[in-house]
Symmetry: C2
Subunit: 401 residues, 2 copies
Amino acid sequence: MRSDPDRLRFEIVARDGDARAGVLHTPHGTVETPCFVPLATRGAVKGMLPAEVEDLGFEMVLGNTYHLMLAPGEELIAARGGLHGFMGWERPIITDSGGFQVFSLAHGSVADEVKGRRGAPTSAGGVLEIAEEGVRFRSYIDGSEHFLSPERSMEVQAGLGSDIALVFDECTPVHADRDYTARSTERTHRWLGRCLDWHAEHGPPGQAVYGIVQGGTHEDLRRESVDAVSAAGVDGLAIGGTLGRDKEEMGEVLEMTTGLLPREAPVHLLGIGEPDDLVRNITLGIDSFDCAVPTRLGRHGMALAPMPERRYRYDVSRAAHATDDGPLVDGCPCPACARFSRAYIHYLCRADELTGVRLVTIHNLAYIEAIVSGAREAILAGRLAAFRDAILAGAAPWEAG
Amino acid sequence: MRSDPDRLRFEIVARDGDARAGVLHTPHGTVETPCFVPLATRGAVKGMLPAEVEDLGFEMVLGNTYHLMLAPGEELIAARGGLHGFMGWERPIITDSGGFQVFSLAHGSVADEVKGRRGAPTSAGGVLEIAEEGVRFRSYIDGSEHFLSPERSMEVQAGLGSDIALVFDECTPVHADRDYTARSTERTHRWLGRCLDWHAEHGPPGQAVYGIVQGGTHEDLRRESVDAVSAAGVDGLAIGGTLGRDKEEMGEVLEMTTGLLPREAPVHLLGIGEPDDLVRNITLGIDSFDCAVPTRLGRHGMALAPMPERRYRYDVSRAAHATDDGPLVDGCPCPACARFSRAYIHYLCRADELTGVRLVTIHNLAYIEAIVSGAREAILAGRLAAFRDAILAGAAPWEAG
């Protein structure tokens, strides 16, 4: 681990058990943790403008190396002030490495696994070759051939100019056996070294690099991976790879993995962020999260709500909501719930009106933000366990304090 | 004509030739004219929230009887404070009668004609019968059978609680012959009487009613229609029906028709609102306009611009714009142009990102608003002809003053 005040500095301001409230200091300002990082996969949080994302309380977004290298290309973005300038977001940005996307093309995605689907590629593109040097694949946009490697991923992320870059890794699938996972994790560590070598020579001075802990569901492999990543001189750690077949196994893998982590490093959990995941994993010491859930559910008219028995969501377009004059969630202080009824949003979603998607997306993002900022308050007050238990029992985040 | 201060009062504050600057006083506040009325066809300006529409300078929106009666139904809306309460728009609302939509199913739409298409129904629904009593048709949503008549249209609009209702009429197509147009226009006048009779007995006290002038491209029929509508005791007039095969004929028909209108009544032009249409017809004395152009073009990545030779628009997603660091239109003060480059919006539109649609829609609405508010300023200063000529010659609205 390293801590370089000219790029990333992680200040822990309070601890509550293994959890901590902190501040990430980056060249584009500070981020209070624990935090949720909305996806700006292709340079925009879906349907939202940057000022609106900021107004909801978010301080960092996540851009996607894989999508942005295919279009419009990192050179075009670099020439426009990097991703900050291109998309008009002046606060911190984290970029993922593209590893998750290219390996999802080959293996099926982690999201598929958690949802009980397996193996099927989730995109029209395709992987041509996975080798020590890197991964050759076809663009899902036009079928053109592309290559991603540790060096190329860091080069793209340098062009994007993110505050935090992620190293290029293989995201191992749950159906990989121990042998495959062990060999893949070792290769991920070799790739980590290549990423850091490239970055030391060519990376933007202010850009921090997080290493990614792999190792699947195997404790010894996770331990080896934590040791390798920590020793490599990264600015923070991200937890990647499969976390098991269901939420129970995910909880065990994350409890085991977080127990191995260095105590002072900032830790990001990749791609996980449902309400119960957030409070459980903040308790384990995770500092930041990204996840498609709030925006993707919004596009499908699914509103987040304090309903643990229904995975914290309901379908606004169901007939039962047609005449409901309450807001999406009672007591919710978000801009959608403050002004619009469930009946109106139900109607818009049924009519496929973009305004409906926007209102549910705004609510979902605000709901997630209320959970992570509520958790931060709880850590500062030394009562995170009670906050977590209240969320898990079905309290709304603004009532769980 | 009537002018009842308890519902609509039209105050003319300045004249410049046949044009006028005015104020519509309604139960939900005032509207400065000339004005453009964005479409909230199904209870939302596409992709926008009410506060955003207001922030762009609009004071009135237009809801659609046909769509809102099919879903969610006017009873549901009436029980939620009418369309104002349901959609959260506290300013004036005008509702159209549904006549245009049901006759478009039978004839093809006026928009199709102006664009050189003809005859094809524009929706999956269908008209079952057109009779003196009214029109039977199938819902485009679920195929269920519905009936619209003068009384039923006014009943729906009463439920919607608009500030200005439009009478139920037949929108005659350009390919109708003189005989059909004459008979249709006479029936429209009988329907006008039935609308006003129903409204006098059951209409909401504050709701004004505009009659619709038909008569196709025939001067004698337009004159008869103006006389019939003016004599019927309406609060304002709208110009409907075919305006000819192209913009040249439209100009002639509108010059002829506006020359016949009573001098003090507010006049609305239905469904027309491209930049050149606005300045030409404001010059002829039209006070308000509605049109799908700014929002529909926005959804297709077409940005309004001072390019008369290209129908005042260009396709942002064309490759030429990929590296253009300027705004959608140089000097445009709209929120999209103030913060985002053409290259960024180009990328979002190519990537089918909702944020791209929103940015072009915001720009287009702001561009149209700048034209009508610029025209108002010009009327107040007695130099509308120069403003019109500048817009027609390719000046941006903020430079045309």
